[in-house]
Symmetry: none
Subunit: 189 residues, 4 copies
DNA sequence: AATGAATGAGCCTTCATTCAT
DNA sequence: AATGAATGAAGGCTCATTCAT
């Protein structure tokens, strides 16, 4: 199963969604097509499982990055999170791109985005407490806007294969975007 | 040609990307498949032409909305632009969704996004002049971030078919996002 | 279309139902698989069309055989009909066998049998009139029993590839079966 | 082995021939696919064994029904036999239908029919003896015709799922068919 | 310019069967 | 004897594209 997902990622990375056929994946994984179907209901199930795997990798990175941040100031926590997310897209950008596209194609983008939105919310809240409340609690629309805006910018950079993707200045702007928005929400319109 | 594009939009709207076959488009357009290929090099060309048509519609709306805004304050201009963009997605959301997906699938999202980025830049600049400079000039990364973040939030709302898509509160948050970012850029880090 | 049906009959004749694949039929017909699917919705549609063609052939034979029989005695008409039916199975018995099986597999056997039942009924009625009523009118169960019994015996002879299938003595027994039954119905239990 | 056959019958009953896969049968039987192949050479062997089991059930019923019939008149014995056969199809009609189809698909219908033909022959003979000879001895063609005609009518009623299948009037007609034929054979053409 | 029948590569998927454990 | 993961040939079917008319 892990081998199949790994093969799927490699196929996606090498040839994009067009090359992603069940036969190709099975062959790359070194198993028969029958075996692939023993583990995955259909082609789409492979894609979804891969998406989950990729997303989990992102979460792990972010969680790990935030672990030692207790006591860090608001902007420090936000920066750590963004750096972790951007960093999670290191390598295999085409595969991730394809996974993103595929998942978004099925209207399941919302579900996959939920944990990230939750992260941002929690980050805002925890930061907002000590020593003094910095940010207000976010409404559903606000959570939506800030999480999708952040991910949208990152996503575009991946999909458009922007050279500055992992530059410091890009990271700076993302941090600025999130902090500015959170600050604006707190200060009122 | 216009009939073919219109048919393509209808097919996309009715059945999504899965139903978008050259034969289906030709039949819906009332022309033969051969004729379709007389005007479009291949299936993808139809999609790109459609994307261009759709994007142009957005531009026209935005341009029209901003025409009478001379003298309006910064936040008024930004709100007008956002309202125009969101409004441009009225109706045929599935078709636009499919077009968005298709275009983004090909890494041509950047090209299509360029005019919007330009718009935001110009909006920021023009707003920044009179009566007194309000916003600083934007660097390429900054233009990228603010335009993709804005479009990313809108895009997600369309793709995820969010109920609040055309609500006032959603618009408010988008305006807040852009203004907060532009303000932060001006004020320094 | 005719070529495809003819190919289907040949494939069926040569290799039975197991060899009846859409690819094989298309190849034998000298057309591409795509062309086959332009004329038939799916594999099953080919089979049904073939069944209809085969059944029509039987009807034509029977109708033609009965055309000149006005004035013939009851047993003469019944014999003519049976001879026509049996004769219709001449050649391509495997194809007909496969068609029979396939059709019966789908519970559509009843529909295909209806015309034959009607034939027997009409034969019985017309015979029952002149010069004097010979046979009583048949109830639905009776029509069912006599038509299915007759066809069942013929069918078995085809499927089991009985040597006596087209012998005179076999025909004699079929005639005897039908006449005896019709007579018994008329005379009472 | 019995468990496997029972599972096969259930699968057939529930989903017809299409659902009848070796894996499905093994799973339903609660054994591994490997075990199934330990007892049956291949998929077809399962079907044949099931057919034999089903046919045996019919024979047992018929034999039992005829056990106490010594001294019964000819029509009494024939009716008892027919009632037993029809009754044997009670329940699991889909399974029996599938078995019938499958068996007949392989041209092995003849073998399975032989015992029934023998039964009819013996019934005719035994009936023909006491107290006075009633029916003449049957030729091979005659045995064939009467047994296949009878089974053909029953078979059709099962396959077409006729509502009157187990009605008294249907039974009456079957009895009439057999007796009329046997009588006609005896009386001469 | 327009037509549309024909093409065929190739996709997804099933399932009977094997064999090392 | 039993297991069940693995196999892979083969099938039905789609659809972008061509080309003779």
């Amino acid at each position: 199963m892990a081998a199949i997902l790994e093969a799927a990622a490699q196929i996606l990375e090498a040839g994009g969604l067009a090359a992603f056929t069940t036969n190709a994946v099975a062959e790359r994984a070194g198993v028969s097509i029958g075996t692939l179907y023993q583990y995955f209901a259909d082609k789409n199930a492979v894609l979804c499982a891969l998406a989950e795997r990729e997303m989990n990798a992102v979460f792990l990175r972010v969680a790990e990055a935030l672990r030692g941040d207790v006591g860090l100031a608001a902007d420090g926590r936000v920066r750590a999170m963004i750096r972790a997310i951007v960093g999670a897209f290191r390598g295999r950008q085409r595969a991730r791109k394809a996974v993103l596209q595929a998942i978004l194609s099925q209207g399941q983008g919302g579900e996959m985005m939920a944990p990230i939105a939750a992260f941002i919310t929690r980050a805002g809240e925890s930061v907002g407490r000590a020593p003094a409340p910095v940010f207000a609690a976010l409404s559903p629309e606000q959570i939506f806007v800030v999480s999708r805006a952040l991910m949208g910018a990152i996503r575009s950079a991946v999909l458009e294969e922007q050279a500055f993707f992992k530059s410091r200045s890009f990271e700076d702007e993302l941090v600025r975007l999130v902090l500015a928005y959170l600050g604006a929400v707190t200060d009122g319109p």
